[in-house]
Symmetry: C2
Amino acid sequence: MPAAVRRPATRILFPLYPGVTHLDFTGPHQIFSRLPGASVRAASLAGADIEGDGLVFTHLDHLEDIEACDVICVPGGLGCTAAMNDTAFVGEIRRLARGATYITSVCTGSLILGAAGLLKGRRAACHWAWRDLLPLFGAIPDESRVARDGNIITGGGVTAGLDFALTLVAELRGAETAQAIQLSLEYAPAPPFDAGRPDQAPPNILARVQALQAPAVGRRAQAALAAARL
Amino acid sequence: MPAAVRRPATRILFPLYPGVTHLDFTGPHQIFSRLPGASVRAASLAGADIEGDGLVFTHLDHLEDIEACDVICVPGGLGCTAAMNDTAFVGEIRRLARGATYITSVCTGSLILGAAGLLKGRRAACHWAWRDLLPLFGAIPDESRVARDGNIITGGGVTAGLDFALTLVAELRGAETAQAIQLSLEYAPAPPFDAGRPDQAPPNILARVQALQAPAVGRRAQAALAAARL
């Protein structure tokens, strides 16, 4: 095929920050890495190495140097509260999202989209334990695993990133391409337990996870601080 | 609790190699990173940075310097055929597996376990498109998403690593801990399509994925080469 008629690559970007939950982006990244005609990049402020849950990612692009992207996908993580108060990081998200065809996130990444002022009056998904913070940014919490509001497509907590990414692939290239990637990654999930959502988990398990999250209690104040900048 | 009665950490090790499919290990790694009392490490020969599908992992441990681990988990990937013919890498897998309580893998990682001589007469899972290579190493292919044969626990293709890891967490710390981690990662999968296994995917999708994999046709010869060393 002559270069002149070749479709330009779909530019997919994951902006990373310290304390990201790595599966929030490695799941979608793996799916997008199999998408024909896509260029997938991961970037951080100044291209700094990024640590998340014990894995360190290097050779990242400089977020500031990226001119534009078609899809921006912001992952979540415990570091999201610091990220949403990092005005340089949030500024880059805002700049790149404004030129993007799709503005997306996984998990608490939607709170960072919120801090960038991108979710006012829009429905968005989020990790179940953090979803109640979305209204601070004028967003409407959506309990769906993958929520869509116009060009904003957001996934719920962590593993929802896989379902989100396949949904986006179908949007970008059609259902058959999404199914082919699903088959190549053998995504026929069979969890050994049925405890993945608060309404599915036994009450004692829910209480245990909520107790574990108690140390993150300062997050509301930090999110409010970020929201106050809007 | 005084140090004397503290249970020693469960040492979980991911040996990495170039061309690993990153989700094969990032999925289980994310799950194990939430396991109380576990020390999770990723290592490579000489601690070299490892690239997989466009992501580069750094600050890895030196595989040769790791004295022992309780769980060894070998991920798969297109690089597995080179890895199973890398006698230094396979030698480290063999050494560490012999001292491990659990010998495990995700996806085509089971072929590397096979090349290390660890699967003779044992049932093992593998990515559906590569499963037929297991008998080269004396292993018995198992179509289960998570297969168990004694202390050998193996997952099927890529995303099976999530189900594998929760299964292993339940084995190590009980069902409640596994359920708590499942809830914290919101693992209530809802794939938008039902095409994750060859028997589920439409025939044209299966044919398309098989055609994409044709360039990897040399893999059988490479696997046979590795098997000849046993």
